[in-house]
């Protein structure tokens, strides 16, 4: 491990124009460096797809990775030490590009596209490797690549047999529990798998893909009964297609079979849209065997190492009695009193039946029948700021849409968690918010009402957790887009950091970067903020949106900085500073960092496009 390099600077809450003139000089210093950039710069490896999508714990399996600039890849990186890999082969893919046609449709892309490569990787998954999705990247002299996901399974893993999955009435025979690695290569392709189930078996069917937005799979369960008109006709028993392609949600079905017999499960791309890279892993496991603890349909990250960053506004962040401690860790003060856990008690549909609570309180309840409303009573002083944080632990918010509203003693609704955001002079957007901040004008008793936003939806898993507490000004989310950086020696790279100040935080936020590679420094930088034009309608409502400051970090690699053989895990950390006192260090983001040689060597420039077996 190389020695750590530290850098730090400070952001002041509510003051986005830093105005440090010294920074301008710094920028002037950077300009010649930027100008020195050559078109012959090394390109970092880019991963496009991986197939098959994974393997079983305690086995060695091979995957093929498709991507660009892979010719000189030397190593693989995994998000845990239980996965190791060896590069087997790298070969150039003969693409079927039609340059003339492409140039006609998009003149700007008339230049020759980069060559694509296929890299074979042999992976050892240790027996203790956690089941689930793991990130992996490839490393070359050009740096570290973007990440793809690889699935590690506890059940046996088999490969799709392309010859037998295409027959609708038959399909490839599989024996659950099993994970099947398959690929949808052509538009309109459907892969069929047949299996036998016994009466009262309950199986979980799940499709995992390489990540959100890569492939939108549809999962369908059939019984091959045929029909009078078509003996090969499949009878659909169940279907699951997640409604959008942006979430992590994998199509998942839990099905209890009422008859013993042969069944067929089909995998296809939504609307038949596909690319040659649409790999999937179909899992069939007994429901009680599933290592996924979530209930069916519940939104969760599929990552084996779930290291979610701090979330202020997300219906799925965990709220518990320790949440206040976590909030206080992002500022200086200490908690004044511990959080009381309160479980709803029916009947509580009317304010008169409201359960009295003492602040801070963590409310837990369920909206389990249409029209159910849960009331809680609390007292607030004049000018006291309150925060209402909401979690839906068992349901994604599109099904359970918790409306949390506060009523005064006269029955007037004074605040709720629906943010009516004006997005154009004539258009408003209603946003359901997981956190609402409100300052009471008058002292008195108030009633918190919880219900589903619809008047009719309810379910036993419409459960909620609501943390009612007083405002705690603190450092909110610290947002950085980059999760890896390849920096050429002698070059600089800008990284924007957004620091949110929650609940009236008005102190300073200092930022640090630890564990940078040797020869790399980080500087605060100022950049011209474009003048904001437009109407006043887009002013965010502080009740739902925190103030935020942007800080620009400039990572600069010394011209003599040595190239890295392995990535450094640099950590961007933040610390609140209030009244001259500093708070705890907060890890904002970990970034994989590599310094790479800027130019290709003469040898590399003349190197053959495809690399022979290693």
């Amino acid at each position: 491990m190389a020695s750590s390099h530290h850098a730090s600077w400070t952001s002041r809450g509510g003051n986005s124009a830093v105005g440090n003139k010294r920074l301008l000089f710094f920028l002037f210093w950077l300009l010649p460096l930027a100008g020195a950039a050559s078109t012959e710069l090394r390109a970092e490896p880019q991963l496009v797809s991986v197939f098959p999508l994974g393997g079983r714990q305690g086995t060695t399996f091979c995957v093929e990775i498709r991507g660009k600039y892979l010719h000189d890849v030397s190593d693989a990186w995994f998000d845990c030490g239980d996965l190791k890999a060896r590069i087997q082969k790298i070969e150039k893919i003969e693409t079927k590009e039609e340059p003339a046609k492409k140039a006609k449709t998009d003149p700007s892309k008339s230049s020759k596209p980069p060559v694509e490569y296929l890299l074979s990787l042999e992976i050892d998954a240790a027996p203790q490797a956690l089941p689930g999705a793991h990130y992996f990247r490839l490393i070359s002299p050009g740096g570290i690549s973007n990440a793809l996901l690889l699935q590690v399974s506890s059940e046996p893993v088999v490969l799709e047999d392309q010859n037998s999955t295409k027959a609708a009435g038959e399909g490839q025979e599989i024996h659950p529990p099993v994970a099947v690695n398959g690929k949808i290569s052509e538009a309109g392709e459907v892969d069929y798998y047949s299996f036998t189930a016994s009466k009262d078996d309950q199986w979980l069917f799940e499709i995992r893909s390489a990540g959100p937005g890569t492939f939108d799979p549809v999962l369908t369960l059939y019984q091959p009964l045929g029909s009078w008109l078509d003996p090969k006709r499949l009878r659909r028993l169940a279907m699951n297609d997640e409604p959008n392609i942006y979430s992590w949600n994998a199509p998942r079905l839990s099905y209890r079979f009422t008859k013993s017999g042969r069944y067929i499960v089909a995998v296809e791309a939504f609307s038949g849209v596909t690319t040659p890279h649409c790999a999937y892993q179909l899992r069939l496991v007994r429901t009680h065997d599933s290592h996924t603890a979530e209930k069916q349909g519940c939104y969760s990250s599929p990552l084996a190492h779930n290291s979610e960053p701090w979330k202020e506004r997300d219906f799925l962040r965990k709220l518990d009695t320790g949440r206040i401690d976590a909030v206080f860790s992002r500022t200086l003060k200490a908690p004044e009193r511990s959080t009381t856990a309160v479980t709803e008690s029916e009947p509580n549909d009317e304010p008169a039946q409201a359960l009295s609570i003492t602040i801070p309180a963590l409310l837990e309840g369920t909206i389990n029948r249409p029209g159910d409303r849960d009331y809680y009573k609390f007292t607030a002083g004049a000018g006291e700021g309150f925060v209402f944080e909401i979690q839906t632990p068992e349901q994604v918010p599109y099904q359970f849409m918790p409306k949390v509203a506060v009523f005064d003693g006269k029955g007037e609704e004074i605040v709720n968690n629906v943010y009516r955001k004006k997005v154009s002079p004539e258009t408003w957007l209603n946003l359901l918010e997981p956190k609402t901040v409100y300052t009471f004008a008058e002292a008195g008793d108030y009633y918190l009402q919880v219900r589903d936003l619809t008047s009719r939806n309810a379910d036993s898993n419409f459960s909620y957790r609501i943390l009612v507490r007083k405002k705690i000004p603190h450092v909110g989310e610290v947002k950085i887009t980059e999760d890896y950086i390849n920096l050429h020696s002698g070059q600089a790279r800008k990284v924007s950091v957004t620091v949110e100040q929650e609940e009236g935080f008005d102190g300073f936020v200092t930022l640090f970067v630890e564990n940078l590679p040797p020869g790399v420094q980080v500087f605060p930088a100022a950049e011209v903020v474009p003048e904001k034009t437009g109407d006043a309608y887009d002013v965010p409502n502080p009740r739902y949106v925190p103030k935020a400051n942007n800080v620009t970090l400039m990572f600069v690699a010394d011209p003599e900085a040595p190239p890295c053989r392995t990535p450094y895990t640099a950590a961007v950390k933040a610390r609140a500073v209030v009244g001259g006192k500093t708070g705890e260090l907060i890890v904002a983001k970990q970034i994989l960092f590599m310094v790479v040689r800027p130019e290709k060597t003469a040898e590399e420039k003349t190197a053959p496009k495809a690399v022979a077996q290693k």
């Binding site: 309109g188 078509d230 849209v273 939104y299 258009t427 997981p434």
Partner: protein, 867 residues
């Protein structure tokens, strides 16, 4: 692309396979020559002329309409009808032939053998006698009031209505005529009064009168009032002369102006008609015969009055039936006509049949269920004999296409035709109705009115359309009660599939569509002005639209989805928080039902569910539902268009519609049960081969009328016979994918997401609005038939059916039979076999000859039509 050229000789040899574009909906006689004969024998009595029959028919009974006559005051008049029932099943107007007497000539006397006139007060009896038969009606004469109350609508509005001044083509049009607006049939007398007495022009979206604002009456010189000068043509009038100077109507208006143009006397509201009824409600006239109409009004005060002379009558088919201004019908030629009677504030219609010939000893036609009872009863009255029961081939093809949208495979056709099971039709119906293909096809059927399209869902992405489609599919699959479908769709909340059809900013459109789809009424016109043909006012429209005013979308960024909810205030559709306002009056509108009832406090908590419950419990709902489902199987509704119920667009079989609606309601709005009822009926299973009595009938279900296949079903049929499934490419900007091979056209979710020229050419609707499919032939179809890939490449496809048949070593005879079984559900006839085999042998290439044969099959009307 291959273009197909045929030798004329070859084409003409395929006797049943017409290459003409789809312009003639009736099967050729040639085709029927080869059709299987029906298995039931039916008497074929010789029809006789009406003239000869009337003399032979015995009068069975008489009745007087109305049975109770009320008269108010001396001089009051009331018309009546005497109807005679005859042994031939007809009821005839015998009023003028009867001997009429009253029990007390001091109280009432009879005038012109048509009306009674009060001469005193008390109770009397009217008696009619004819050939030994008699009927009576009671007459009650109340003492007259001192002075009849004045009502603007009753006295003045009646003149406008009777003289046609407030007809939709004149001043009763949307914007009126020549700057002068009257409400249709004096529906809104207050507004009429305003335009006459205060003057000014009507403006569609503005409540204020358009300049110049000059009264149309002259209080100082009443005779100089425009209201008198124009209709008497004393000054130029685009509508010509409506009455003469000095006529009764002239005097009425003159007196009214002289009296200072009062609106209504206190208590005059009692004189407004609450409803009107036209008698006879059903009639079947022999050619050349007459029938007097009688129009009765039920007044708000409880009276019933004869309003025949306050009405304007019209016929929608004067060539069949003409009607005089006094309501006398004259039958001119065989057929049917709708007679519309308009009175101030109301319109009513009735369907009258004209019989060509009377059939002596009309046979008893077997009946299977209530559909047959009603249809055959009417046919008997019309003296039309239904066709015979369809052949097994006809039935098999028809039922497969109607329940599953697909053609049965050849082995199934053979199996069905061979079966001697007397219950085989019912068994097949059950098999098909429980098949997965039924689910696909019914989903497809309902995807039209419920509009599954990218452009009709929100957001306009395939995901939204998919959720919506899957909701419809699950309704069909589970056979959920239809009223539940409707409630789910009208009141959908959250992110459930049914909610995906709500699009923003369109509360009025959304409401109008729900009413159109589920109540069969078109309110759209009333969005900008009072409905020009129906009593729906602009206010009513906006009150109904207000039910959707709180509808809003709520997004959450946790998983990028949105839910539909009803916000507590304001117009959520635009998200502005503004209440719904009537664009003309600029007044805030509160939700109210079409009957004018507002919402209780409890109902306001969930206005759309309240509306959904009201709509689904309204009689309109079941009527509209059964009418739509009926149209799936007959190609048209009992009311046509299926979503255009109007008082002026009556059903062809009102009693049948009521009976079906009642049955549907009483059986839990069970769609599958209704469909079973329809397809099990003999009416549905009648042959398409007409007989001498029903060959001109197009409205009474006396025989099956061939219906052109829907674009999707036609394409699937061609795919089946060619053995080459269609590949559907998606053209959406969101997903340029392809449906899996083998997906049928009727299984496509959205109608606007696929690039398929065939479907476009043959009338696949885009469902941007509630579609009415276009089955008209066009030039593109003709060109497509000659050179389109569906008709060329598909047939020549390697591995396709022709290729397979040749490879199998099948003889020409067997191939011809196989193709005929698939295309027509029948074996080729002997004549067809001989000619076709000869032609195939004469061609140098067997492959090409067979391709041409298939081409001929798929272009024949027997293939293109469901019959």
């Amino acid at each position: 692309m291959k273009t197909r050229f045929f030798s004329l000789k070859f084409v003409s040899t395929i006797v049943a396979f017409s290459i003409a574009p789809l312009s003639c909906p009736v099967l050729s006689e040639t085709q029927h020559r080869f059709a299987d004969r029906p298995e039931t024998a039916q008497a074929s009595p010789q029809p006789r002329t009406a003239e000869s029959q009337e003399h032979r028919a015995r009068l069975l009974s008489l009745r007087i309409i109305p049975e109770e006559i009320s008269l108010w005051g001396k001089g009051a008049e009331h018309s009546f009808l005497v109807m005679g029932s005859f042994s031939d099943g007809l009821e005839r107007d015998v009023t003028l032939q009867c001997k009429l007497i009253t029990s007390d000539p001091q109280l009432v006397h009879i005038e012109g053998n048509r009306r009674v006139v009060a001469t005193g007060s008390g109770i009397a009896v009217l008696k009619a006698e004819l050939t030994g038969r008699a009927a009576t009606a009671s007459i009650r004469i109340e003492s007259s009031p001192e002075k009849e109350l004045f009502s603007f609508q009753r006295q003045i509005g009646t003149i406008f209505t009777r003289r046609g001044c407030n007809a939709s083509e004149c001043h009763g049009g949307v914007k009126g005529k020549a700057g002068f607006k009257l409400s249709l049939d004096a529906l809104y007398p207050e507004e009429d009064y305003r335009w006459i007495v205060k003057g000014g022009g009507y403006q569609v979206l503005v409540a204020e009168a358009k300049e110049p604002v000059n009264p149309r009456v002259d209080l100082k010189r009443a005779e100089e009032s425009l209201l008198l000068l124009k209709p008497t043509l004393s000054v130029s009038h685009g509508g010509g002369q409506r009455f003469e100077v000095g006529s009764g109507d002239y005097q009425t208006i003159l007196e009214w102006v002289r009296k200072g143009t009062p609106f209504d006397d206190p208590g005059a509201e009692k004189l407004r008609a609450e409803s009107i009824e036209l008698y006879p409600s059903e009639a079947f006239l022999e050619m050349g015969k007459s029938q007097q109409l009688l129009l009765m009004a039920q007044l708000a005060g409880g009276r019933k009055e004869d309003w025949t002379n306050r009405s304007r009558f019209s016929s929608n088919n004067p060539d069949v039936l003409e009607v005089t201004a006094d309501g006398l019908l004259r039958a001119k030629s065989p057929g049917e006509a709708v007679i519309i009677a308009r009175t101030p504030g109301h319109a009513v219609s009735t369907r009258i049949g004209v019989i060509s010939r009377v059939i002596p000893n009309y046979p008893r036609v077997p009946r299977r269920n209530l559909i047959d009872e009603h249809v055959f009863a009417k046919l008997r009255k019309l003296q039309i004999l239904p066709s015979e029961l369809s052949s097994d081939s006809e039935f098999l093809r028809r039922i497969c296409l109607d329940l599953t949208g697909t053609l049965p495979p050849a082995n199934r056709v053979r199996e069905f035709l061979k079966s001697k099971d007397p219950q085989k039709r019912d068994r097949l119906i059950e098999t098909l109705i429980e098949s997965p293909e039924y689910i696909d096809f019914l989903t497809f059927r309902f995807s039209d009115p419920l509009r599954v399209a990218l452009s009709a869902t929100y957001p306009s992405t395939p995901k939204g359309a998919e959720w919506y489609y899957e909701w419809i599919r699950s309704c069909v699959e589970q056979n959920r009660p239809y009223d539940q479908w409707a409630r789910d769709r009208i009141a959908a909340q959250g992110s459930e599939g049914a909610s995906r059809h709500f699009r923003p900013r369109l509360a009025p459109d959304t409401m109008a569509e729900q009413v159109r789809v589920f109540m069969g009424r078109r309110l759209d016109c009333a969005q900008c002005h009072n409905h020009p043909f129906e009593p729906w006012s602009q206010s009513q429209f906006w009150q109904m639209a207000s039910f959707f005013g709180r509808l809003a979308y709520v997004f959450n960024y946790t998983d990028y989805r949105y839910a539909v909810v009803d916000m507590t205030t304001g117009s959520g559709m635009s998200g502005t928080g503004d209440p719904v306002t009537n664009p003309r009056t600029k007044q805030v509108v509160q939700p109210a039902f079409l009957d004018g009832r507002g919402l209780t406090e409890e109902e306001r908590q969930d206005p759309r569910m309240t509306l959904a419950k009201w709509m689904t419990s309204h009689p309109y709902f079941a009527e509209a539902a059964v009418n739509r489902i009926w149209s799936f199987f007959f190609g048209k509704g009992l009311v046509e268009p299926v979503d255009d119920f109007r008082s002026t667009n009556p059903p062809t079989h009102p009693e049948l519609l009521q009976a079906l609606a009642q049955d549907f309601r009483e059986n839990g709005h069970d769609v599958k049960r209704l469909i079973r009822l329809i397809v099990q009926s003999r009416t549905y299973q009648l042959s398409a081969v007409p007989n001498e009595t029903n060959k001109n009938d197009k409205t009474n279900y006396s025989h099956t009328l061939p219906r052109r296949l829907d674009a999707e079903v036609l394409l699937d049929g061609i795919s089946i016979i060619s053995g080459t499934p269609e590949l559907f490419e998606r053209r959406s900007r969101y997903d340029a994918g392809r449906e899996p091979l083998g997906v049928r056209a009727v299984q496509l979710r959205e109608s606007d997401a696929h690039a398929c020229r065939f479907l476009e050419a043959y009338g696949q609707p885009d469902r941007a609005t509630v579609p009415e499919r276009d089955y008209k032939p066009n030039l593109v179809q003709a060109l497509h038939q000659l050179a389109g890939s569906t008709y060329t490449e598909k047939l020549a496809q390697k591995g396709g059916r022709i290729d397979q048949l040749i490879q199998s070593g099948a003889s020409d005879r067997n191939i011809i039979d196989e193709l005929s079984l698939i295309a027509y559900c029948r074996l080729a006839t002997h004549g067809e076999q001989e000619e076709l085999q000869k032609m195939i042998r004469a061609r140098p290439s067997r492959q090409e000859a067979l391709e041409d044969l298939v081409w001929g099959l798929i272009n024949s009307r027997e293939f293109v039509y469901n019959h």
